[in-house]
Symmetry: C2
Subunit: 306 residues, 2 copies
């Protein structure tokens, strides 16, 4: 407990919260000005992102129904875009992922965190990349203007990245740096950068001609700060979704409604992604661990006292 | 499922989401301009608001610890203000309250919803009322300016409330209208209004001279839309907190850390409150039920299909 009190009282936390507040303001301003409507988060649902890595179950029972804590709002974002009156939506979406304890060491994992989670309809990855490039630049400019004294107090120097951010193919980086290309490229780059094509969950679109090529991407923060955003163009065809669920061993009975909508041919053609707020604030403030930018950190495997 | 698809596709939902987006923008702008720092939500914690009405447990186990879904961030907001560098904080805080099914009929209950949850340090209820009055006015002005066509399409006429909003004592309204004064006053008033003094959870400050008088409040929406915000000045003294927990039968072992901080005399003297976003959007858009303003409604007692 004394540890929690010390963290809450830490003068460093004042600067971090001010920078966080400015960064969030810049995100909301940019989204509003870009005509992206804001939806509300979903916390409990019978269907949620399956994730493609091992983790523990987080669910509750309510009136005989098992409801899962949201691991990401991907499926809900997609279906939101069934509405014909808007083609862009974002949500400040808290996600709970009860990760295995070893992820506590990466410096960038919390078992509870918030994404700014964006989805666009009838758009391509190029258009998504353009929108997010603008958001990142806007965050840097606003934070540097509003929080110059806070950045100074933290000893943090930032430069506004030049747009467009660089875009790499993952295979290109892998052949240059080997399997650990994410870490190495993140350490070598000076600006945030995109990397295309990662094998992932069923919902990221796989090329029909070139199987094994995925129309998806990550953003990485530079200076070794690692992954910032994940997203992609999405599958919309029922048969593709089912094929990919089978390949991945995804439990199809956990996606009854989603598959029903897919069977009716109603999944909108979308592209999107989610950018982690705590990771962004960690980068902007130059802190070692996401724990250091969080008032009440939820680090995988660590006991919480409040 | 067809019901969910129809709701998502409903043209009315376009207008509602645009109005919601403008209302949220106005809240964030106002908070930022008022120097209120923004914290991140807490979803899981060993300690959370006990609430003073019957509801079901919502918790998960993680590495041998039982973590509760946040019913409100009151305790975390208070301790956030241990930091000496800011005296105002807000959080867009999703709350999960597994309510009993009969609350599905009130038109204003969801078992999952979001509050703009605000707490101020070393301030009085008068200062809190002034801050929130300004926020509400800002929301009305911004929504009416930005979303005139959407309000028209919904057949909704709004007028910017005059400040200061009226403030009533609950006993005054009770003697005029009887025990159902909340409903009757909400139906009769034309503008949102404050009501002071409600018996509530242990953390709302009870007057030391006049026991049974609470330095807390609600805001009500007019036109019968009912409760909008709850809050109050808070208890900070360990002995008062313990006395009130005992009176209410609150399980003290569920507040080990909080009571430990209180025992050290460290609970900041704060005042605050939380305003429900879905209820605000329901009022602004003139809808019957909070269900009608939510893409994925979680209505007490109702089965969720997505």
């Amino acid at each position: 407990m004394q540890h929690t009190i010390a963290r809450l009282k830490d003068a460093k936390m004042t600067h971090i919260l001010r920078i966080q507040s400015a960064a969030l303001k810049a995100v909301h301003d940019y989204m509003y000005d870009s005509g992206v409507v804001q939806g509300m988060p979903v916390i409990l649902s019978p269907e949620t992102d399956p994730l493609n890595h091992p983790h523990f179950d987080a669910s509750v029972d309510y009136y005989g129904q098992r409801l899962h804590l949201t691991k990401s709002m991907i499926l809900h974002k997609q279906l939101s875009l069934l509405n014909g009156g808007f083609d862009k939506i974002y949500v400040m979406s808290p996600n709970v992922r009860l990760e295995q304890g070893e992820l506590g060491q990466t410096g960038r994992h919390l078992f509870e965190f918030t994404q700014v989670d964006i989805e666009l309809k009838e758009k391509t990855k190029t258009e998504f990349i353009g929108l997010v490039d603008g958001m990142i630049k806007n965050v840097f400019e606003f934070v540097m203007r509003e929080c110059a004294a806070d950045l100074d107090a933290l000893g943090r120097k930032l430069t506004v990245p030049s747009l467009p951010l660089k875009v790499y193919e993952s295979e290109e980086l892998r052949s240059e740096y080997g399997d650990d290309f994410e870490t190495i490229a993140s350490a070598r780059e000076a600006d945030p950068f995109w990397v295309l094509n990662f094998p992932r969950e069923f919902y990221d679109r796989e090329d029909k001609q070139t199987r094994g090529y995925y129309h998806n991407y990550d953003i990485f923060w530079p200076e070794g700060y690692g992954e910032a955003l994940s997203g992609g163009e999405r599958e919309w065809e029922h048969d593709e979704i089912v094929r990919k669920m089978r390949e991945r061993g995804t439990r199809m009975d956990a996606f009854e409604t989603y598959l029903d909508v897919a069977k009716q041919g109603l999944i909108p053609r979308t592209v999107g992604g989610g950018l982690g707020i705590e990771r962004m604030v960690r980068y902007l403030t130059g802190q070692k661990h996401v724990r250091d930018v969080t008032l009440f950190p939820r680090v995988p495997g660590e006991r919480i006292d409040f």
